[in-house]
């Protein structure tokens, strides 16, 4: 497979090394000449010291025959443009962009980047896993980002314990659809009685989160009093 990597920072450097080790053909583009030479000294003459955003140099680097273009510079706007140029101008089948500002994910997807890797989002997700149990856990953003997949861990004192979804005041545009009980996923029907320790999985509009929180976890006051 021929992979064109743009951006010779830490990510691009290690990515290139790993790809070579697994036997792929790789070209790395790095616009800083000094940095490019430094990498070339170590891994050989597959480094092009040019700006990968520039159409002319992308072409010279063989973009038109690349199977994959990975844009991993530190600048989101550069990564976006590299992927779009690869996709629309050079007909590359698969483009991967590093996204630093999580707010840009939706735009990048919409504008045709095939895969988006967001280190910021990943670290954020990892931190949120550790957030105290009386919070709603964000599992994923759905659609264009206006819907969220949420997990609520029911504790003693939650208004939902001992009740079924039909007894709760679930905000419009939200759906409680499954529970995880003792490690087993079960469908959540309108008459399924929820228990302490259940994890309720819900899909809802972002703005309904506070209401869902109140129904499944309890109001902020009750949570604090616990």
């Amino acid at each position: 497979m021929f992979v064109l990597v743009i951006g010779g920072g830490k990510v691009g450097y290690y990515l290139t090394k790993e790809l070579i080790e697994s036997g792929h053909e790789v070209v790395l583009m790095e616009k800083d000449r000094q940095r490019a030479e430094q990498i070339a000294d170590e891994i050989g003459s597959i480094v092009i010291a040019h700006d990968g955003c520039e159409g002319k140099y992308l072409g010279e680097a063989g973009c038109a025959r690349a199977d994959i273009v990975a844009a991993v510079t530190g600048d989101d706007e550069d990564n976006l443009v590299i992927c779009q140029m690869a996709k629309h101008h050079f007909d590359v089948r698969r483009t991967i962009a590093r996204v630093n500002n999580p707010k840009n994910e939706t735009l990048f997807k919409h504008l045709g980047v095939d895969e988006i890797i967001s280190p910021t989002r990943m670290i954020l997700g990892s931190i949120e896993q550790d957030i105290p149990v009386h919070e709603l856990l964000h599992l994923a953003a759905l659609g264009e980002g206006e819907l969220e997949l949420i997990e609520a861990h029911l504790q003693a004192g939650s208004p939902a314990v001992g009740r079924a979804p039909r007894d709760l005041d679930i905000p419009d545009g939200c759906s409680l659809f499954a529970i995880i009980r003792d490690g087993v996923a079960l469908p959540l029907r309108p008459d399924t009685v929820m228990r302490e320790g259940d994890k309720v999985i819900a899909i809802g509009k972002t703005e309904c989160e506070a209401l869902l929180h109140g129904q499944l976890i309890g109001d902020a006051e009750t949570a604090d009093a616990r």
């Binding site: 159409g55 659609g143 264009e144």
Partner: protein, 169 residues
């Protein structure tokens, strides 16, 4: 007409003043407040410090109902991203981006953005002045297509309806 200009450099400032004195409602954005020194004291539009590649900033600057959106910073890619945010996410009317790389300028025109290429403009001006053959490329390339070859409709249309039920997701 409401005009939003990203980048208050020489060109941005001249255009901001021109649209302002033409009676239009102008908002000009720049990352640095000192860029606004270029504006004449009589400039009656809004000068906003902010990042034109940030969707919230553009929304605050009123890009959603801008009939004309100009991306004129020094960075081709920043201009491209700002222009696409305005066009695709915010639904601005006409969008023009300065893209000095002729290849990118041509490519993005076919993706729905009018592109202004200083490289072509200036080299053609010089060639024309000294009587050599010019490239014949237009200084501003009109948009000739959209970026989505038939897949999604613009973000702005999918994000707006208030009652998107979960079942539809």
């Amino acid at each position: 007409v409401k005009v939003v200009i990203v980048g208050c450099g020489r060109v941005g400032a001249v255009l901001a003043e021109a649209f302002d004195s033409g009676g239009h409602d102008v908002v000009v954005l720049d990352l640095s407040t000192s860029a606004f020194d270029r504006l004449h004291a009589s400039f009656a539009g809004h000068a906003v410090r902010g990042d034109g590649t940030d969707e919230d900033t553009l929304r605050r600057a009123g890009a959603e109902d801008a009939e004309l959106f100009l991306a004129l910073t020094e960075g081709d890619n920043r201009n491209i991203m700002a222009a696409q945010l305005a066009l695709e996410s915010l639904g601005a009317g006409r969008v023009i981006a300065k893209i000095n790389d002729p290849v990118r300028a041509a490519a993005y025109a076919s993706l729905g953005i009018a592109t202004l290429c200083r490289t072509v403009l200036m080299s053609d001006a010089v060639l024309d002045f000294v009587g050599e053959r010019v490239s014949g490329m237009p200084g501003i390339i009109a948009p000739s297509g959209t970026h989505h070859g038939g897949h999604a409709e613009p973000l702005v249309a999918t994000a707006s309806p208030a009652g998107a039920a979960p079942e539809e997701a």
